[in-house]
Amino acid sequence: MSALLDHLPEFWQGLVVTLQMTAASFLGAAAVGLVIVAMRVGPVPVLRAVATVYVETLQNLPLLVLLVLAVFGLPEIGLKAGLTTTAIVVIALYEGAYIAEALRSGVNAISAGQGEAARALGLTFGQSLRHVVLPQALSTVVQPLGNIFIALTMNTSLAAAVGVVELTAAANRVNLLEAQPIPIFVGAGLAYAAVAACAGFVTGRIERRLAVAR
């Protein structure tokens, strides 16, 4: 136990890096996901194809392979960036594919009649999206997006494998010093569980607030 308490600053630093990476890459992933889903449900065949290939490619590659490729491979073609930045960008691109799929299944869950009725009433594309489609789509995707957020938090730990010192790497380092694996790793695990529990709580509240009567 004292191994955990003596090294609280290291753990805290690791947790902060994990939270920063989670927040930054989730924002990035949301932006990527929005763009990709817009391309995928839009009427332009070329953009549809590009978005489909993007989603299929990223969902079928291990995140660790992408991280290794970006961290060790890209400097070879003159693309150099900070380690943490690289990891954040890669995680955002990867999770963006999953967010796009979650959003798409939310949009697909709405019956076509809703959009047709909106257009029949004379709403423009933007209006029908804002007043009819999105409110219904959002309430069904809150839970999947929450699950993606939790998985993303867990996935930031893979950055430890390419040298970013976040919570998992911090735990590993402290363990190398103190050699008391059980309290140290359990402590780190509890920190992740706490983040996930917060995320679950928040998504529950958002879901109740967005729930639409049907």
Binding site: L69, Y98, A151, M154, P181
Partner: protein
């Protein structure tokens, strides 16, 4: 092509679609040109840097890595499916004493990164006198974490079977266990087959943690190769392509199974959205 978001395009919309097509293609070409320029400017397009990947010994080595990947994936899939089935049945048990621990396991493991479990097996167990061979250092943590995921898949499958099936079995005088084994599980198994295959894609992706364990699966083999021949980006691109081919085939299989299961009549089960891993 009428639907939720737009009607059959009229002349003006068709013009806009053509414009967007041209713009999209131009942006795509620009990106490709940029990538090629970066590769060329740093001399990474030189033939001798790609030539090695046209030779058999290189592929023999990488395919050996792929074989180890497959081995680890198959063994931990078998272990985690067995564990997942037990956990799913446990969560659906009528006894609280069984239900609660199973639920706790699933919920707890879902919120612990697989890498942390790998570190635990890698660094904690040896201290308590349990030094597993490399293969098991990868397979054990993967099985522990994937058992929880398979448990949720199986539970969803069992719950998707109409209550009447189980009730009819009980009315015929089968015991609870018999109705589960003879009536519910065989039907659930067919429904979860597509989800099992797409979970296995996730499991196969997880085996890349062998990179950390230094178990010679595909990604770690790639690392060793890259350190040996200095062709970093080429090696990792080839490794990524191998993963892509294998996983995309499995995903395609899952989709076609999904279609054939959906076509088999019966109510459509709820679609499970994939979660990144």
């Amino acid at each position: 092509m009428s639907g939720l978001l737009f009607d059959e395009p009229g002349p003006r919309a068709r013009r806009r679609i053509r414009l967007a097509t041209v713009a999209g293609v131009l942006v795509l070409l620009a990106l490709v040109a940029l990538a090629v320029r970066q590769f060329a400017a740093n001399g990474q397009l030189a033939a001798e840097r790609w030539q090695p990947y046209a030779t058999w010994p290189m592929w023999r080595y990488l395919l050996g890595g792929l074989w180890s990947t497959a081995l680890a994936a198959v063994v931990s899939a078998a272990l985690s499916m067995a564990g997942g089935l037990v956990l799913a049945l446990g969560r659906l048990s009528r006894r609280r004493a069984i239900r609660l621990p199973a639920a706790a396991y699933v919920e707890a493991v879902r919120t612990i990164p697989a890498l942390l479990l790998v570190y635990l097996v890698l660094f904690a167990l040896p201290r308590y006198g349990l030094d597993l061979p490399l293969f098991w250092k990868l397979v054990v943590p993967l099985s522990v974490s994937n058992a929880a995921l398979f448990a949720e898949v199986f539970r969803a499958g069992i719950l998707s079977i109409e209550r009447g099936q189980g009730e009819a079995a009980l009315a015929l005088g089968l015991t609870h266990g018999q109705s589960m084994r003879l009536v519910v599980l065989p039907q659930a198994a067919r429904r979860v087959l597509p989800s099992i295959v797409s979970q296995s894609v996730g499991l196969l992706k997880d085996t890349s943690l062998g990179f950390v364990v230094s178990y010679a699966e595909l990604l770690y083999s790639g690392k060793v190769l890259a350190n040996y021949n200095g062709l970093l980006i080429q090696t990792y691109i080839v490794v990524a392509l191998v993963y892509l081919v294998v996983n995309a085939s499995l995903s395609a299989l899952a989709r076609s199974l999904d279609r054939s299961v959906a076509g088999g009549g019966g109510p459509r089960r709820r679609k499970i959205t994939r979660v990144p891993r």
